[in-house]
């Protein structure tokens, strides 16, 4: 299969429930950046009760939701999707899991009342509710495929997430809190799955991550590494620089 004719297949998990941090912005970025290169994106919503069809998706997206919706989603993930999702990513499908989606991609979430919400375990991490929300602009030094870049966004989470040996961090915190506000790490990566607390949304100001995910998903689709045509990212770079400048000055003006 030649890359010129490829349409990537995105499985958007729980678009009705897990969408409160402008997750559609991330999907718009994937779609445009593929279209600018003559490639397609086919987005399939996978909702409550829907099965994951084996081999049907090159890339999964799981966003964040309100607490009540997130509990419903956790239960449904464990019951109807966890096995198929683990198989898909073991087979090389890519994934982006943001905020609540990041937590659910791990082993689980323990609430302040001790209640336990299961995760799907595609990332080796665990989350415990903290006493306060960690909120604000977040800048990290990220590393993917051996390349290091500054990544910027916004975080807003009560969960304190800690990585196990099976996941490495997406990056190190430069400004902000990150996974737990203590160990200086942000996000988690295993194979082609990226989890992160960074929203804003993540991809518009960090097109490098978008292109990394696109590259991984194309490789899953075509079975071979694909060189992506470069795009003019002047506006993205300006917005990235402005957001970093904003994050590293005092808040609340």
């Amino acid at each position: 299969m030649s890359a010129a004719a490829v349409t990537l297949r995105l499985g958007h998990l729980y678009p009705g429930e897990m969408n409160i941090y402008a997750d559609r912005g991330n999907i718009a970025v994937l779609e445009r950046r593929l279209a600018w290169r003559g490639l397609g994106l086919e987005v399939t919503g996978i909702g409550i009760g829907d099965p994951i069809v084996a081999g049907a998706h090159d890339l999964f997206y799981l966003g964040g939701g309100q607490d009540r919706d997130q509990a419903v989603v956790a239960e449904d993930l464990a019951r109807t999707k966890a096995g198929a999702l683990r198989e898909a990513v073991a087979g090389g499908a890519a994934g982006l899991c943001v905020c609540g989606g990041f937590q659910l991609a791990g082993h689980g979430y323990t609430g302040t009342d001790g209640s336990r919400m299961p995760g799907v375990g595609i990332l080796d991490l665990d989350t415990v509710a903290g006493p306060t929300r960690l909120i604000g602009n977040l800048v990290i030094e990220a590393e993917l495929d051996g390349e290091r870049r500054s990544v910027v966004g916004f975080e807003n989470h009560a969960g304190r997430t800690r990585l196990g040996p099976g996941s490495r961090p997406l990056g190190r915190v430069v400004q902000g809190h990150g996974n737990n506000g203590e160990d200086g790490l942000e996000g988690g990566v295993t194979g082609r799955v990226i989890g992160t607390y960074l929203h804003g949304p993540l991809l518009p100001k960090n097109p490098w991550i978008a292109d990394t995910l696109i590259g991984w998903a194309l490789e899953h689709r075509t079975g071979a590494p694909v060189a992506l045509a470069p795009l003019d990212d002047t506006m993205e770079e300006e917005a990235h620089a402005a957001a970093v400048a904003r994050a590293t000055r005092r808040r609340g003006r």
Partner: protein, 457 residues
């Protein structure tokens, strides 16, 4: 009320005004509450017709002005706060300023920030409590809507039996606040011509409050507002006591409404554009009915009220008409988009995005706004504010080409550019977030084309 605390607090207000700090609209109240924590309930009790409190994520400022206008037409003397001073301290300042006024005010009317509402209601014990909507707003500031809805539920349950909650039947979250309570007055829009084709992307709260089943909408009017029902448990929108049966949108300049009330119909033309203002007018009518104001005074009041600052306000600058449409969250922004699209001319646009405390530090909500139909028709597009570059990316990924937008982070320079781009005699639509609006208005005040907000009545 002991005199010294009042005197000290008022002196602080005069000093603050002289120093030009925000018009002194909340400092005296802060001082007063420090000196006398129970001051709010003491001052509120002195008002013979009681207190009306209004809250919502969207439309509370405009609605408070509409209710004030209705009350004045009915001959009431009011004490009211100005928008921007809608926390505990702002309400206290307004009550303080009214001390010793002759004739003495008979009633209080306060628009209150949704996060501050529970405490204000506890202290002020309002006779009428108008709750209009809960839209997804600044998540980093309030925590999530669920939390707020839970706090409001307890607040409404704890109101004395003599108080009247006035609730929006079209908002499932607000409507649920009145469950099991007598003496609730509901309002909503019954004119089916206002329907949207589908729930907008920014809609929230679309699960049943009782059984969590997804809601079915026979009509979506605005955000998640509409004629909803639950196929899970049978819960459904009640037929409201105060209902707009006819809403006519006169382009981007005004509306006409016919509103049925238990006391008779209200018909009015308002110089405020867009469907969201039809909601504001209906909510104001319901509150005024609950306050005991007659329909004829309400009709006069609605027609007489000018736009609140920055909310449909019009000014003329260099021969261009500027229409300021505050857009501080996705639903509000979607309504400004809908309103601008009512203008048959391709619009010239200035969109301003700040991320300061009053705006919310998290600007990701711009990706939930449906800007696409506006971009398709825009005659020009200028983007400004602290996060102008984020706006530019939003428009770029909506498919708007870079060469058809101008990014100027400095608001005053951007204003001049946008005004110069619009033709003489033309209209420039200005869509700012809250602090961006304050900044642009400061420029307009300095140039002598707008009034400072604390001088407004």
């Amino acid at each position: 009320m002991t005199a010294p605390s009042v005197t000290i607090a008022r002196a602080a207000g005069r000093l603050s005004r002289r120093l030009g700090r925000g018009g002194g609209t909340s400092l005296p109240g802060k001082v007063l509450l420090k000196l006398r924590p129970q001051a709010l309930s003491e001052l509120g009790r002195e008002l013979p017709r009681g207190v009306t409190v209004i809250s919502a994520t969207n439309g509370k400022t405009t609605t408070a002005r509409l209710v004030a206008s209705c009350a004045r037409e009915a001959g009431w003397d009011l004490v009211a706060n100005t928008s921007g001073a809608n926390l505990l301290s702002g309400v206290a300042t307004a009550l303080l300023d009214a001390q010793g006024r002759r004739p003495a005010p008979e009633a209080g009317l306060f628009e209150v920030d949704e996060a501050a509402l529970v405490e204000v209601a506890r202290q002020l014990r309002p006779r009428v409590l108008l709750l209009m909507n809960l839209f997804r707003d600044q998540l980093d500031r309030y925590g999530e809507l669920e939390h707020l809805a839970a706090l409001w539920t307890r607040m409404v349950a704890e109101l004395p039996a003599s108080a009247t909650p006035v609730l929006n039947a079209d908002d499932p979250a607000i409507s649920a606040l009145g469950a099991g309570r007598r003496g609730v007055l509901t309002f909503g829009i019954d004119d089916t011509s206002v329907a949207l084709d589908a729930l907008p992307h920014a809609a929230d709260s679309t699960r049943c409050r009782l059984c969590a089943h997804p809601l079915t909408y026979d009509l979506v009017s605005l955000g998640h507002l509409g004629h909803w029902r639950c196929e899970g448990c049978g819960a459904a929108r009640v037929s409201p006591d105060v209902r707009a049966t006819r809403v006519t949108l006169h382009g981007a300049t005004g509306i006409a409404v016919r509103i049925e009330t238990p006391q008779g119909p209200v018909e009015a033309e308002l110089p405020l554009p867009g469907l969201h203002n039809a909601y504001n007018a209906t909510a104001a009518t319901a509150a005024a009915i609950a306050m005991g104001i007659a329909p004829d005074a309400i009709a006069r009041g609605l027609a007489a009220s000018p736009a609140a600052f920055g909310r449909g306000e019009r000014v003329t600058l260099d021969g261009r008409r500027l229409v300021l449409l505050l857009a501080k969250n996705p639903t509000g922004a979607n309504e400004t988009v809908r309103t601008v699209l009512l203008d048959p001319e391709p619009p010239h646009l200035l969109i301003a995005l700040n991320d300061r405390t009053a705006d919310g530090h998290d600007i990701s909500w711009i990706w939930d706004v449906d800007y696409e139909p506006l971009l398709a028709r825009a005659a020009s597009l200028t983007l400004t504010g602290d996060r102008a570059h984020d706006l530019a990316l939003r428009m770029r990924y909506a498919g708007h080409p870079a060469e058809r937008m101008t990014v100027i982070p400095d608001p005053e320079a951007a204003l001049d550019h946008a005004v110069a781009t619009a033709p003489a005699g033309g209209t420039l639509y200005v869509l700012p977030t809250y602090t961006a609006m304050l900044g642009l208005r400061e420029t307009l005040v300095r140039r002598g084309v707008a009034e400072a907000f604390w001088r407004e009545r």
